[in-house]
């Protein structure tokens, strides 16, 4: 009888009755063949691999992360509560010591969902990983978490949620934003003033293969991870870097994904995108599961794999190598850059931007203000209005906020109540409270 060296948990929630639309890439059939492969391989019979039933995320779990306008219920369907709940189930099982590693094979995905939710973005409504991480922080008191987003699309939602959080290291490896949705995730995007450097973007050129991907992980990602010393490593495991994916232009294989998982050693993997539902997903998911559990994955090879046709061009190899150098340099200089931002004595830093909710066809304008703070992530204030109107104000006080930031956040909330907003939200994380006025 086959035995897994590492006790590994799986939540399998293919949501066979949920789709964005009948022919949309994010549709019922997406995990069908993956489920077929997982069942046919007898993965769930391997001693040491357990299947867990997903819990339902609660509204409170969502409100720890998001500002849903007008409310959580209208942003989410049942499947979103289950998908986020599935990630939470894996997280809890890991922290309870029930399993060493776990993989939430759930849909719908979540890594394009930002802190503010005014519609659907890139097939995502809410951020499964963030909902899980904040639930775990609340329940188990863990602090330092690393998220490695290996979906082919930039994890702009997760980046946004952790932009100001120095306790969360967010590393996104993705196809260069100049060639793919959402067009973001450049090396210059390194986090807000209180968390500069803990957001790391590695935009890989089209046609990057296993070789380049694994090289940058080994030489750049792993040393940074080691230095950050996270208590928990989360992998946003998108599978759209695969050579057969219809939406992207990368050349990753199932073996590459398995090897990537072996290198990253994530405690928790959460499925993100991946739309080659027949040619890639069954094999990639097998590779990831076996690798997590420590079971031999060398026979997991796509039937149509032709290594010559996806060999990495030399110019890509050079480009990826330079990208690694830039990334390591940025990481090493992060303290100096953080100090430089404080040189002119400002106490509040502002930015304004537009956010596109492509899945819902909504455009949002945000005015963001962050309190510069050396003691915590800083109080955060977001004014938001969409092209359909409805201005709202959202205040976030981070979990380990200093007294000054707590006060600032409260003041902003009180002042906001008299302002010209349809709704004013307060995410008071130190007290684990969410208020709406």
């Amino acid at each position: 009888m086959l035995k897994a060296p590492r006790k590994t948990g799986l939540v399998f929630f293919p949501a066979f009755d949920w789709a964005i639309s009948p022919t949309h890439p994010e549709r019922e059939e997406r995990l069908l063949y993956t489920q077929d492969q997982v069942f046919e391989e007898g993965i769930l019979d391997i001693e040491g691999i357990v299947e867990l039933r997903p819990e339902l995320a609660t509204i409170e779990d969502v409100q720890r992360v998001h500002f849903c306008v007008p409310d959580v219920e209208s942003a989410m369907t049942e499947s979103h509560f289950i998908s986020a709940g599935g990630a939470m189930t894996i997280g809890r099982a890991v922290l309870d010591g029930e399993i060493e590693r776990g993989f939430a094979l759930v849909r719908p995905p979540g890594h394009h969902a930002m802190r503010m939710v005014r519609g659907g973005r890139g097939f995502c409504q809410v951020n499964n990983e963030a909902i899980m991480i904040e639930a775990l922080r609340q329940r188990y008191g863990i602090r330092k978490v690393a998220i490695i987003d290996t979906d082919c699309h930039h994890g702009d939602g997760t980046q946004d949620i952790y932009w100001h959080d120095p306790d969360t290291l967010f590393i996104s490896l993705h196809q260069d934003g100049r060639t793919l949705y959402p067009g973001l995730g450049f090396p210059e995007e390194q986090g807000g003033p209180n968390a500069l450097g803990t957001t790391i973007n590695i935009p890989l050129p089209p046609n990057t293969s296993d070789a380049g991907y694994l090289e940058i992980v080994r030489d750049t990602v792993l040393p940074i991870l080691e230095e950050f010393e996270p208590e928990l490593i989360v992998n946003s495991a998108g599978q759209d870097n695969h050579y057969s994916d219809p939406l992207t232009n990368m050349n990753f294989t199932a073996q590459g994904y398995a090897e990537l998982t072996r290198l990253l050693k994530p405690h928790i993997a959460v499925l993100e995108g991946g739309y080659s539902i027949e040619g890639a997903l069954p094999y990639v998911n097998m590779g990831i599961i076996l690798s997590m559990a420590g079971v031999d994955y060398s026979h997991v090879i796509e039937p149509d794999l032709c290594p010559e046709s996806i060999a990495q061009p030399p110019e890509v190899t050079d480009y990826v190598r330079r990208l690694g150098e830039i990334t390591r340099r940025n990481w090493n200089e992060r303290h100096d850059r953080r100090a430089a931002l404080r040189a002119n004595g400002q106490t509040i830093l502002r930015r304004s931007r537009q956010v596109q909710y492509d899945t819902s066809g909504i455009l949002e304008r945000q005015e963001e203000a962050i309190r510069l703070c050396d003691d915590c992530g800083g109080a955060l204030r977001i004014e938001s209005v969409t092209d359909q109107g409805v201005p709202v104000l959202a205040i976030h006080i981070p979990p380990h906020a200093c007294d000054a930031c707590r006060q600032t956040g409260r003041d902003w909330f009180e002042q906001g109540k008299t302002g010209d907003f349809e709704q004013v939200f307060l995410q008071d994380r130190p007290n684990d409270r969410f208020e709406v006025a």
């Binding site: 009888m1 086959l2 939540v11 399998f12 929630f13 293919p14 949501a15 066979f16 009755d17 949920w18 009948p22 022919t23 890439p25 549709r27 019922e28 059939e29 069908l32 063949y33 489920q35 077929d36 492969q37 069942f39 046919e40 391989e41 007898g42 019979d45 299947e51 867990l52 039933r53 997903p54 339902l56 369907t77 049942e78 499947s79 289950i82 219809p246 027949e278 069954p282 094999y283 097998m286 076996l290 079971v295 031999d296 060398s298 026979h299 997991v300 090879i301 796509e302 039937p303």
Partner: protein, 567 residues
Amino acid sequence: MIIGLDVGGTHTDAVLLDCRGVVERAKVSTDETDLFRSVLAGLDLILEGTDPGCITRIVLSTTLTTNAIVRNRVEPVGMIVCSGPGLDPEVHRTGPDYHVVAGAIDHRGREIQPVDPDEIVAIAAGFRERGIRQVAVVGKFSCRNPAHEVRIAELVEPYVERVFMGHRTSGHLSFPRRIATTFLNASVYPIHRAFFEAVGGALREKGLSAPVHIMKADGGTMSLEASIDAPGQTVLSGPAASIMGAIPAAPAEEDVVVLDIGGTTTDIAILVGGVPLLQPVGIAFGRFKTLIRSLQTSSIGIGGDSHIQVSDGQLAIGPDRCGPPRAFGGPEVTPTDAFVTLGELNAGDAARATAGVTEIGERLGLDEHAAAQTLIETACDRILAAVDEMVEQVNAQPVYTIHEMLDGYRIRPTRLLVLGGPAEHFAPYLAARSSMKVSLVPDWGVANAIGAAMARTTCEVSLVADTERGLVSVSNSDAQWRCDRHYTRVDALRQASEALRNLAIESGADDEDMDLELTEDIQFNIVNGFSTTGRNIRVSLQIKPGLIHGYRLPGSASSRLFRSEGC
């Protein structure tokens, strides 16, 4: 009239039923070394004075294949496996004659690597040289396309006595379980066939011409003829027979837990609406995880003859049995001795039993009366805890759609139905310690044989239609047929029910006992480049375990109800 006969580990139970109920019942000791004699002895007893011509149905349940596997008294099997990508197929090795060959099918039933006939013929010749007569051929995803298995079987057949194919076992996905199941079928085939051909012959000599059915692990039956093709289905049929025997006593509107308390173990099963729950995939049996459909049971090593010990002032019960209870000359104290000590069971040597319980009592600081009670109560608490655990486990089984997740039926049992040898003595104690109603199955001593007699033929088919490929395949059959783009779920349901009906008739079912039940019903758009190019339709139908029509038994109204003192 019909006959049910269950050869168990210690006893062989037999009953003769007519439309009003049990006419004859018999219990004889099982001779483990000669099950054939046990079968005939049981039949002789209940047939005394009955015209064999009046018998219309005979159902047998035996430990034959179970014992053969447990004691490894099975024939060597030659195994041929086609794997394709995935786990290393070596991890599924069944024995020395295990051959991984060229040939692979993918999840949609498409060939991704052809079979190499020369390779197969060379292996088959080797089988013949080594005297291997049974061969199992199993391919990954063969239930989506059996072509490779069929081709390999054709090539091997001239060299051996019998070839079993994986896709004939089940429509469920699980390559390792398909390997184990096909291997078991092949390895118990000679012993099963020899035994039942002999039984069939002996019955005819007695003038019994009624069809003979064999009990399966899923609480259903199959004809003797059908069992020759799938002998593995008969493993662990004994516990299933007992559970089926409890059904007449189960109120249909309640969730019911069935406890079959034996000498060394207690088997737990759950009835929902009078129907026993089935294992989601298949039975796990020793080192084998299989696709053999079976009732969902859980077993705890506590029974009337479980060995009782005291260590560090704590009572430990089971899981071993060290011979019979003290009262019957055995070496160790058992719950049975406690019942004897309390005067609740009038059997064996009461003085020996009491002396044993007194010894236990001394080490617990209790007199023999209190010790006997504590001992029984501890056993009951362990059994009840196992019941809770099983209910929890069943309720935690994963589901895959939003609808199932939100509307998931949760089992909340309100009644315990108790049967088996010591059931009568345990029942009042269970009632006092459980919030559930506790009742004793009428005829609890031979309920297993009644269950066998009345169990109907069960079977299952799964149909997968892929309208993009234009192909329909159905489990347990070599056939695949074409379909066009207009093929719908309704067509799939019609063809699946036809296939199920045919299979049921082949397996010995009666037309009136065919309650078809839909167990899987999903369909997906197959999309290529943002347009729908076909549908993937999957339906599974079963005839679920249940009782045949026309035989009435005392129902729940007449079962003895035990009330806890609080009520």
